[in-house]
Symmetry: D2
């Protein structure tokens, strides 16, 4: 089971970070990677079962949501290669915030796991999540990492 | 922090039990205790933030929902004595299903915890949850427990 | 990532069941399958890092242990085919008890997951866990399941 | 139920931080607060049931331990006022590490909860955990926080 785990510190209080990301249908905080986020079907962005299409290519469904734990879990039902539904299946992603009380910032962890006969998608998804996390942190004033991820391969 | 934990085996597959309880606004499976379940405000029964009023007296808000774990978590924001908002606060309840693979039945656990200066509500809430669980199990054909809970004190 | 999940109800209180299984080095409660359980290296049966050899063939290491949650987690570092270290890796098993308060019995869940290029070990391990759980339950007086698992393929 | 939650970023990889704290009987990494850490009874520092006495006054028992999750959970069975066994009970503390992959540092969270008729111990324990976390981080080269905690009230 290929899996990825990425995490970052965002220089803002946990409630501020949660406010920015809590709507499953709003990805405006990740402009480097996400050029469009379209609501698909019924259900608001805090409704389990809500769907979104990212960059016209990735189709996600919200499968668990906790405002008390500041956590959302979703399946990725389709995407471009190497994460198309013919290459991988049972993709589950999980985005979770925890407060760093020592300096009132936020620990953000983003993990995913899926089934596949190969690990071709691991590097691709690591790059995607690193870009998303860097954007989230930069949106609160953090510098970009020294070695910026190259996003050329992510559709957009 | 007063807390309660109750659990039961329901003689049906876990998907069948989840189908019956998964709508936060539908409590028709618990007729012994719940005489009315009214949707309050926007949001369907799988939407975090959805609200319900039970028996005209209890006000609940859905705060976490996972269809993959078959779990829902809610706050009880008000209720009759001894669980009124002047007597207790920070009430969180959690309903969770797990499959019993040996005989294709379902383990149902229902826990709750709250803050209070006293433990007056413990017996009251244990009685409520035992009644709800007994109804759920009876709805799938289980016999009622030998010592039926007395529900006289629960509004309805 | 192949995985298995098996669960059963044991007709005894959760503390009694935990007392029987809590020693990682004692598998006397599973006579159908486990003919020998040998302590390997230092560390008692509640010590993370403790090791055991089952039936002279399976080598397990305790990696997490919680008496408060009545849960133990272990890696299986080697075994006979199809779970030998050349066929699978990163095998983690998890044994967990929860009380069934309605009738003072115990829900036992036993899951495992591992990495492999194939799913050959799934049926084998399901059979093993079903036998172990049936023995645990039978040790407290439960009848054996109608369709007894066949254990012929498990070394012993 | 009074509870405390403190967290910090430690400027070192998660495996290095875990190596430093993983022995329940070794508190040499927290010199500001812990002047002595004495092993009590049998069981090494990764054994559930292991006990320690800190500063001759606090008595802790390890109740859960996971090397895979880098987490340890313990009860505090006695201590000086305001955490003596006559003032509080059912004290459970939990220390947990997560990797910050963006810069190869470590998120450390330390929580505790207990039962009491008052919240007198909250400030006292917050101060203790903040000091412990600051020491852990300083041991890996981090600067002390601008507003150093005052430790005068912690026995030592």
């Amino acid at each position: 089971m290929p899996k990825v785990y990425n995490s970052i510190i965002v220089p803002a209080p946990v409630d501020a970070v949660w406010s920015r990301i809590r709507d499953f249908h709003d990805f405006s905080w990740a402009p480097s990677l996400v050029t469009s986020c379209e609501k698909v079907g019924p259900g608001d962005g805090n409704t389990v079962g809500a769907r979104r299409r990212l960059n016209g290519a990735f189709l996600d469904t919200l499968i668990a949501y906790s405002s008390i734990d500041r956590r959302m879990t979703y399946s990725m039902d389709d995407g471009p290669s190497p994460v198309s539904s013919s290459e991988i299946h049972d993709y589950v992603g999980d985005l979770h915030l925890l407060p760093v009380t020592a300096d009132n910032t936020t620990f953000v962890e983003w993990s995913a796991a899926w089934e596949s006969n190969n690990t071709d998608a691991v590097g691709y998804m690591n790059e995607a999540y690193q870009s998303l996390l860097a954007d989230l942190s930069a949106g609160f004033g953090a510098g970009r990492p020294d070695q910026p991820a190259k996003h050329g391969k992510i559709p957009g």
